[in-house]
Symmetry: C2
Subunit: 127 residues, 2 copies
DNA sequence: GATGGGGGTTCCATTCAGTGGAAGGTCAAG
DNA sequence: CTTGACCTTCCACTGAATGGAACCCCCATC
């Protein structure tokens, strides 16, 4: 199957798939004319990548996860460790973002939002 | 004052301050020897930038906010509009992140994390 | 056989907001 | 006079793609 076909199946744009090949996450066969040919396995791998990326794993983590996925002798502890590190990162991000949101929401609530220049948002930034 | 001095005051590394100059957020004087000289006003502007960035405003939003800050005829509504757009972006991010976190936490909880290969995390990614 | 349209290919630049490092100029102290 | 801590510019790199240009390939139609 061609790149746009596999892209539709895996839910990834061709550009991204070429990029994943470039960084070695996938190595599709080539036809005589230079076109990439994707097997069902390739499609499956790409779908795996899309879902892992959607969960926020970095590309390098995806690489590790794919490696573990194809390793029958893996220990689930290794997978779990990667996931837990990622979860910690997400939690940290959530904290930061929540903090921002609270501050921002307070400032917005305090701002009249009319035609006058007085503004608690700017006042806070200039504090 | 020199760049590292103002950096300490504003809480920004020299590299970042040079970058802000490059993109026109600040235009410090220069001494005969080429060194940048920062006024109190510059320091204030930089601190404003640091706080706005810490709230997650993009650099372009910071540029607008600085413009409004220095405009006595501004309407607070304009500031509020920028802030509200940003809040919406943060809320969207929070939703995405929260969704990721939930899925990830469920998968982690379901994974034994032992030496056996069976792993719900990988199973889900390969679904 | 020419042409057109919709694929595919590579390579380079751009995004965002900095950060790292090299090579070299300046300044105050010892 | 040298040392070390500054400062300067310029270029490359980060992550994870995305946009665009220039060019190739294949099939259908005229």
């Amino acid at each position: 199957m061609n790149i746009s076909e596999v892209g539709k199946r895996a839910g990834l744009p061709p550009k991204t798939i070429r990029f994943y090949e470039e960084i070695g996450l996938i190595t599709p066969r080539r036809e005589a004319n230079g076109y990439r040919v994707f097997s069902e396995k390739d499609a499956h791998r790409l779908a795996f990548l899309r879902r892992a990326r959607a969960l926020g794993f970095t590309v390098e983590e995806c690489r590790q996860l794919l490696g573990l996925y194809h390793d029958d002798t893996r220990a689930s502890a290794d997978v779990k460790a990667i996931a837990r590190e990622h979860l910690a990162r997400i939690d940290a991000q959530l904290q930061d973002l929540q903090q921002m949101r609270n501050t921002l929401a307070d400032l917005i609530a305090a701002c009249a939002g009319d035609s006058r220049p007085d503004c608690p948002i700017l006042r806070d930034l200039a504090r």
